[in-house]
């Protein structure tokens, strides 16, 4: 009896793992397909622009608000510490460094996967469960080409741009606290900042943002395309997509940061 149960359990686990592996394999095949189709014709320029507008439009306000407050709050915290050493002048530089290298890409990634990733998944999942994607395939149009590639390309272009906006507005936030609360001299604030933050930092931040863009759009569209089971299925797909893309962003962030710091 115990043997039998154990046997069944092993079988079931085996099946689970095989299925998982198959799922992961499918995801990579899909990723290959998207990448391949992104560089191939037909280029659907108007759809890409539609998505650029959608991503930018949906996210600009939230990026501006979050960026400003992140910069301001970080500036306050850092300024408080630096004040002990009479080094408030450096708070702008420290905040800007943190923003460009880490805070801006990470927060942008989180915000976008919540706002844009979720609605991409919901849209594609709705199309899937209402047979619209089947209809598209039946008309000989590849949904990856028509739906995924424009979203992927637009994310790749727009998310780093939003990250830059985040950095910029975050620095303004830090500037306000620095000059307003810690009475830092404007000249010193800017001088220290330009001294400490260099092009490598900005480049590293943008690399992160671009990689997060890839993750967000690919994961969101993948979950959307593979949804099933009516309105409930759309909900499940959306939740899963956001959770997985947040985890993926965090994991990749560690790896990218390690690579950037070490090499």
């Amino acid at each position: 009896m115990v043997m039998r149960t154990a046997e069944l359990a092993v079988k079931w686990l085996g099946l689970e793992t095989t299925e998982r592996l198959v799922e992961i394999g499918k995801f990579f095949v899909y990723v290959g397909d998207v990448l391949n189709q992104s560089v191939r014709k037909p280029m659907r320029t108007s759809l890409v622009f539609q998505q650029l507008e959608f991503i930018g439009n949906q996210s600009l306000n939230i990026i501006l608000i979050t960026g400003f407050f992140t910069g301001a709050v970080f500036g306050l915290q850092i300024g408080g510490i630096f004040q002990i050493f009479k080094a408030e002048g450096l708070m702008g530089a420290a905040t800007a460094k943190a923003l460009t290298r880490e805070l801006a890409p990470l927060m942008t990634g989180f915000l976008i996967s919540g706002r844009v990733g979720s609605s991409m998944t919901a849209e594609l999942a709705t199309m899937r469960v209402s047979e619209q994607i089947d209809a598209m395939e039946a008309m000989g149009v590849d949904p990856v080409n028509y739906l995924v590639v424009p979203r992927f390309l637009a994310s790749l272009a727009m998310i780093p741009l939003l990250c830059v906006v985040f950095i910029f507005i975050g620095i303004i936030g830090a500037y306000m606290t620095g000059v307003g609360i810690f009475r830092v001299d404007v000249g010193i604030f800017i001088e220290k900042m330009t001294q400490i933050v260099n092009m490598t930092d900005i480049w590293n931040g943008l690399q992160k943002a671009a990689i997060f863009a890839v993750l967000i759009s690919l994961i969101a569209c993948h979950y959307g395309l593979r949804a099933s089971g009516g309105a409930k299925g759309v909900g499940i797909a959306t939740t899963n997509s956001v959770v997985v893309s947040l985890l993926a962003i965090l994991c990749c962030d560690v790896v990218i940061t390690y690579v950037q710091v070490k090499f």
Binding site: E131, Q132, D134, A135, E137, A138, M139, G140, V141
Partner: protein
């Protein structure tokens, strides 16, 4: 000419098509009937390469389509126009954009010619001049008719209808059955394949009927063959009775 040879399709343990052999003659209206969940939609999804059979061949115009890769399948699918069970219009697009979609994707017609063709098919289904409306503004019957217009717009060789009249009021049902006949008559060389569980409509409209039961063909033939059949499953389907070999869930 469409031929299924020993086609098998299962989802997990549930075997939906079991060694299915099926012939659909060209140029005719063929009804595929069977009770709900019997695998009718699965049959045509396999036919269009939207699903792949676990075993067997599907031969269309002499070509085994189960061997085609995704790229070739996309070209192959242009032979078909399909009306989905719930019309499956793109709800982010207007009616006009929906109907023009396959033309845009697959033809190089100049825009005015495309627009003219769109108007032509919309008139054919009795809905001229509704290009600007959105699918959410349409009734179910209107959606179906727009879906049919979209299926017809590229002049496909095969037209597939997945339960075109299910859930329609009798007048709309009759109109759509009429449209099926009209399209099959007016468009030269076209074959119509209709999925249905409405045996009465099949008897009235079809030239050829295939009945699916337990993943196989119970009977294939003309409406006359069906009227005269002594097969208990066919008789039960006729009478709509709960008594008989066919079990209900």
């Amino acid at each position: 000419m469409i031929e299924f040879k020993h086609v098998r399709k299962a989802f997990g343990r549930r075997v939906v098509l079991d060694d299915l052999d099926l012939v659909i003659p060209p140029g005719k209206i063929t009804f595929i009937i069977g009770k709900s969940g019997e695998g009718k939609s699965v049959t045509i999804k396999n036919l269009m390469g939207l699903m792949h059979p676990d075993a067997g061949q599907i031969i269309v115009d002499g070509e085994d389509i189960t061997r085609l890769d995704e790229e070739k399948l996309q070209v192959y699918r242009r032979k078909f126009g399909m009306l989905f069970q719930n019309a499956a219009l793109f709800d982010s697009m207007s009616v006009g954009e929906n109907v023009i979609f396959p033309l845009r994707e697959h033809t190089r017609l100049p825009l005015p010619a495309m627009l003219e063709r769109v108007e032509e098919v919309l008139t054919m289904v009795g809905l001229p001049g509704i290009q600007h409306k959105f699918p959410t503004e349409l009734s179910t019957g209107e959606k179906k008719r727009v879906g049919l217009a979209r299926a017809l717009v590229t002049k496909p060789k095969f037209i597939l209808y997945d339960e075109p009249t299910t859930g329609m009021d009798p007048l709309v049902s009759e109109m759509i059955d009429g449209l099926i006949v009209q399209v099959n008559r007016d468009v030269p060389g076209v074959s119509s394949i209709v999925i249905s569980h409405d045996l009465k409509a099949a008897l009235a409209t079809a030239e050829n009927i295939v009945m699916l039961y337990h993943g196989r063909v119970t009977l294939a033939g003309s409406p006359k063959d069906f009227r005269e059949s002594k097969d208990p499953v066919v008789r039960q389907f006729f009478s709509g009775s709960v008594e008989g070999p066919m079990e209900f869930l």
